[in-house]
């Protein structure tokens, strides 16, 4: 018998590299999951089987990918538990969908270092390697924490916190009504809770609509190229796209409208939008182009602000104008071949020297864009951090909706309370622990309770 009773899963290959993506699953449900994913194809232990990988959500069976499936029954496996390995063709989108399906079937995403931890606990790794595992858990969880913090920057964080506050507020009413029925605080039977439920529903849906990182993978990130006229924006678009799609001349203001190009970086779609040069203009057509440019800049997931490095001071006022967008801004010091800046070097994470025309430093830019998509660094990138946050929000939403049904249909206040508790548990993976005593504290400071 092994130490753990739950089943974990993770993508085992570095994101976006190579032609094969591997998902590894370990725990007692591995075989059940194999059955579902392979649509009941039986697996001979330790043999590779070619099969489609199916998703069966919404009562529809759909093949997500195809590849090899291997099953290693415990204890003769890497972790000592039943292990299933799925090797697919593995674009990041497909791998994520497959992982999500596996989690729907009863696995949970593995914590950093957890496969190794299990291997060690089940005597599959010797003592000498134990130190390394402790280090791995330590550093990986630290990295995960950092990524979580980065995922929680800006507007997303504000909205999540507001949501949690609203949920706590609602729970306060529900729990007070349950624990203090003699205190004239019976909110379950008046409109307070009903209204709270409606507000929470709205906030949660808004938040999920805005938290588009999940969609980012499937639909691609939008990158706006902005800058002064003739800084080299269109050249940059062409350099990224690898062909002439924007009209490039030496005449300032050539791009009067926005130009779009979809490029692929390691299989990830990226929508690059070239915008009109930003300057004061009396030309009505150009003014309209600039207005649209700002629109695109506001909506973009990432902005590449192109600066002519032969005249760096020209962009000072522009940098100031972009201050509100700092979180998603990368300054591109273009024409580095002319100004003599070291190609590819950058003073910080948010700046890069290159030459669009000479095609120098473009690879660095691609890497940088992958970074921005949270697409780098193996299994625990900022992308996965955001993905976890969104999964937590989705789980919170499920419980929240079930809770509302319990109250509205069954008049079961105690089951609403239970669902709201689970909902908050899900969110606590984003915002930290919230103990029953914290909740009681809220109740006692809001209602005058006590006979």
């Amino acid at each position: 018998m092994t130490y753990q009773t739950d089943t974990i899963a993770a993508i085992a290959t570095p994101a976006g590299r190579g032609g094969v993506g591997v998902i590894r699953i370990s725990g007692p449900k591995s075989l059940d999951i194999a059955c579902a994913i392979l649509n009941n194809k039986s697996l001979k232990p330790r043999y590779a089987h070619f099969s489609n990988f199916y998703s069966s959500s919404n009562n529809e069976i759909e093949a997500l990918d195809s590849g090899l499936a291997l099953f290693f029954p415990g204890p003769n496996s890497f972790t000592g538990e039943d292990v299933l390995e799925l090797q697919g063709h593995g674009g990041p989108v497909v791998l994520q969908l497959l992982l999500r399906e596996i989690c729907r079937l009863g696995a949970r995403p593995a914590k950093p270092g957890e496969f190794s931890e299990r291997a060690f606990l089940n005597d599959k790794i010797d003592l000498a390697q134990a130190e390394a595992i402790a280090d791995l858990i330590d550093s990986a969880s630290e990295q995960a924490a950092k990524n979580a913090v980065r995922s929680l920057e800006g507007e997303f964080s504000r909205q999540v916190n507001a949501l949690v506050e609203a949920l706590i507020h609602l729970r306060m009413y529900v729990e007070a009504a349950i624990d203090f029925p003699e205190e004239e605080v019976d909110f379950l039977s008046d409109e307070t809770v009903q209204r709270g439920l409606e507000n929470l529903d709205r906030d949660l849906n808004n938040l999920l609509a805005n938290a588009k990182q999940g969609a980012l993978l499937r639909e691609g990130m939008t990158v706006a190229i902005a800058g002064k006229p003739n800084a080299g924006k269109s050249s940059l678009l062409n350099a990224l796209a690898g062909r002439e799609s924007a009209i490039v001349t030496d005449i300032a203001g050539t791009t009067r409208d926005v130009l779009r190009e979809t490029i692929l970086i390691d299989g990830m779609p990226l929508h690059v939008i070239d915008t009109a040069g930003l300057r004061d203009s009396s030309d009505l057509v150009e003014q309209e182009g600039i207005r649209r440019a700002w629109q695109v800049i506001d909506d973009a997931d990432r902005i590449l602000l192109v600066i002519d490095s032969t005249d760096p001071s020209s962009a000072d006022d522009l940098l100031k104008q972009f201050e509100p967008h700092r979180d998603k801004l990368t300054a591109i010091y273009n024409k580095a071949d002319l100004s003599g800046l070291a190609i590819g070097e950058s003073s910080d994470h948010h700046a890069l020297n290159l030459s669009a025309k000479a095609q120098q430093g473009i690879d660095k830019l691609r890497e940088h864009l992958k970074d921005c998509m949270g697409y780098h660094g193996g299994s625990d990138s900022q992308f996965t951090a955001r993905q976890r946050h969104i999964d937590a929000l989705l789980e919170a939403k499920t419980h929240f909706e079930q809770g509302r049904e319990q109250l509205v249909v069954y008049r079961a206040g105690e089951l609403l309370a239970e669902e709201l508790r689970l909902s908050q548990n899900a969110l606590s993976t984003i915002t930290g622990e919230f103990t029953p005593d914290d909740l009681l504290g809220k109740i006692f400071s809001s209602f005058c309770i006590g006979k």
Binding site: M1, T2, Y3, Q4, T5, D6, K111, P112, G113, E114, E117, F120, L121, L127, A130, E131, I133, A134, D135, I137, D138, S141, E175, A177, I178, D179, F180, P181, E182, E183, E184, L188, V409, Y410, R411, A412, G413, E414, L415, A417, E418, R421, E433, T435, P436, D437, L439, L440, G441, F444, S445, C448, I449, G450, K451
Partner: protein, 630 residues
């Protein structure tokens, strides 16, 4: 002198913790001595004359399921019974009873006097006999030395007790009783963390001086609920009512005017009071926008005129108390029979206890009740029972037992206390229990009585009643699972009247019960004979309606079970675990958890920290195989 006989268990203190402790130990066959400073006050309700309520009745029923006294004494002393949250679902339903102090006390006294293996001795205890790091007995204030294998301390508010009325204060254990000063200073010499808490009571009022006209009456429920699983209606004495009145703006002005002589607001009281049971001056001060607070008037008994005005607990000076009471509707001419007061007392940091309630540093010494920082008769009784049974187990060299968080509110109570400690008097609330849907008032017997029987706590009468109920429920469940209703039959027609759309395929009776519109009596009698036993009907209905939730919680419990069985040595040096942050090392060092599960529940201890501990244990060979397969 040395008392000639030696005991297995000595219990010091005869309140709700002490009486349950000595009864439990004696029931299990341990030779038990109850030492009390006053036999007349055994089972005394020092605060309000009521037992039960939300979260608390759950504890009472658990004590009862383990053979304890509190529920039966309530049935014999209860003068009003109500079910709270009756419309909010079975998991949060709670029985509350007003009790006649005299009848309640008499019931407890009778049980104590008739308990085999139990001796009672009246004399204050001044000292413990401690040899090395082990307690061996107690010494009374006249120097009689009683020796025992284990000692249970249930000293309530008596340790270093200090009573405040206005800016005057004096030493006291309870109004009219002396404090335990010598014992308190002796205990402070032990290597246990100690601090001060505060609680309070309202002034008592003579009913003859109260004008009840226009006050809202509150009667009990009909049919009358019963508290004990083996209780019955014919145990209940005559029933009576309570009344409700309110404070008003005038009352609040009087209170504001007296705050400069309040021991709370002038800093005389250092102890921390409970947030959920604030004094009236606290309520008026903190919720200044509320111009009225409810006062619940409870009768102290059938044969007394004294009333307990619940909601105006105060330590303001007596002249302010008089004025504030007389500003309240109905109390215009009220005569106060006893002034309200606040009391400060010593409590010991419960993080120094094991789950058995034995202290971690002094072997064989057990603590229960307010000494551990709790408040309430029910919380005290629950701990008393647990400490008593564990003292008896220890005296017999047997392994300790404590229910888990998913088994009983007693488990939640103890785990909360020893894991997180407490900064205010700890009271039970259902929101403290993550397995609230499993830990219900109606199933405390199903959760605990079998274990109680195994421990020797449950007598033959209770055991027979329990087995009978269990079998009846199971039989009825099976009958309903195998009784089918076909569409287009007379039974279906009868059924269709109660549901929105007629049934279109056959269903068994249990399936039908899943529908929100239907209760047990709607379906059980459609075919065959429904049970007339309400408890049976209740068990079946709840089992069906909560099924999905119960499954989910059971799965979660199973998942966490391994950590519950992974022991952490008490002398574990957390400093040597690499990778743990200093903050987490410190938190673990302060709490010294007994199991990995308990460690994981300490606020701030992360899942990664638990992994690191697990790996460390494994590395040092401290992860034994029994914990893996348990």
């Amino acid at each position: 002198m040395d008392y000639p006989e030696q005991f297995d268990v000595i219990v010091i203190g005869g309140g709700h913790a002490g009486t349950e402790a000595c009864l439990a130990a004696a029931r299990m066959g341990a030779k038990t001595l109850l030492l009390t400073h006053n036999i007349e006050t055994l089972g005394q309700m020092s605060c309000n004359p009521a037992i039960g309520g939300i979260g608390k009745s759950h504890l009472v029923k658990e004590i009862d399921a383990l053979g304890g006294a509190m529920a039966l004494a309530t049935d014999r002393g209860g003068i009003q019974f109500r079910v709270l949250n009756a419309r909010k679902g079975p998991a949060v339903r709670a029985t509350r009873a007003q009790a006649d102090r005299v009848l309640y006390k008499a019931a407890i006294r009778e049980m104590l006097e008739n308990q085999q293996n139990l001796s009672i001795f009246q004399q204050a205890v001044d000292d413990l006999i401690v040899e090395g790091e082990r307690v061996c007995g107690a010494i009374t204030n006249t120097g009689i030395r009683f020796r025992a294998k284990t000692v249970v301390l249930t000293t309530g508010t008596f340790l270093g007790g200090k009573i405040h009325i206005g800016l005057d204060n004096h030493s006291g254990g309870r109004a009219g009783d002396p404090p335990a000063i010598a014992l308190a200073s002796r205990l402070r010499e032990l290597p246990l963390r100690v601090d001060r808490l505060k609680t309070g009571t309202p002034p008592r009022i003579d009913a003859k001086s109260v004008n009840f006209e226009g006050l809202q009456e509150q009667w009990g429920d009909q049919p009358e609920p019963v508290m004990s699983y083996i209780g019955s209606l014919d145990m209940h004495p005559q029933q009576t009512c309570c009344w409700i009145t309110h404070t008003n703006e005038r009352t609040h002005e009087i209170i504001q005017g007296g705050l400069d002589r309040s021991p709370m607001y002038t800093g005389v009281i250092e102890g921390v009071g409970p947030r959920y049971c604030p004094s009236i001056e606290d309520k008026v001060h903190r919720f200044a926008d509320k111009n009225s607070h409810q006062v619940f008037i409870e009768p102290e008994g059938l044969n007394t005129h004294e009333l307990y005005p619940n909601g105006i607990s105060t330590s303001l000076p007596f002249d302010v108390q008089m004025n504030l009471v007389r500003s309240i509707k109905g109390f215009e001419q009220a005569h106060i029979t006893r002034p309200g007061y606040a009391i400060e007392y010593d409590y010991f940091d419960p993080r120094d206890l094991k789950t058995s309630l034995e202290t971690k540093v002094i072997e064989n010494l057990f603590f229960a009740g307010q000494i551990n920082g709790t408040t309430g008769y029910e919380e005290a009784g629950a701990q008393g029972l647990l400490a008593g049974l564990n003292a008896a187990l220890k005296a017999a060299d047997k392994e300790a037992w404590c229910p888990k968080r998913d088994e009983a509110y007693i488990g939640v109570l103890v785990d909360d206390l020893i894991t997180m400690g407490t900064l205010e008097p700890y009271r039970m609330f259902t929101s403290r229990a993550e397995y609230r849907l499993l830990l219900r008032e109606d199933n405390a017997d199903a959760r605990l009585t079998e274990k109680g029987r195994e421990l020797g706590l449950v007598d033959d009468v209770r055991w027979a009643a329990f087995c009978d109920k269990r079998e009846t429920v199971e039989r009825e469940r099976q009958r309903m699972a195998s009784t089918w209703i076909q569409p287009n039959t007379p039974e279906a027609a009868q059924l269709n009247e109660k549901i929105p759309t007629p049934i279109s395929r056959e269903h068994n009776l249990l399936d039908l019960l899943k529908r929100p519109e239907l209760n047990y009596f709607d379906v059980a009698g459609l075919k065959g004979e429904a049970s007339t036993n309400l408890q049976v009907a209740e068990q079946i209905e709840i089992g069906v309606k909560y099924a999905g939730y119960i499954d989910r919680q059971t799965e979660e419990i199973e998942r966490l079970r391994r950590f519950e069985h992974t022991a952490l040595p008490l002398d574990f040096d957390y400093q040597t675990v690499e990778g743990l942050s200093n903050e987490i090392k410190q938190k673990l060092g302060n709490a010294r958890p007994e199991t990995l599960a308990q460690a994981s529940r300490i606020p701030g201890v992360t899942p990664a920290a638990v992994s690191l501990l697990l790996i460390y244990l494994k590395k040092r060979g401290l992860l034994d195989r029994s914990s893996k397969t348990a």
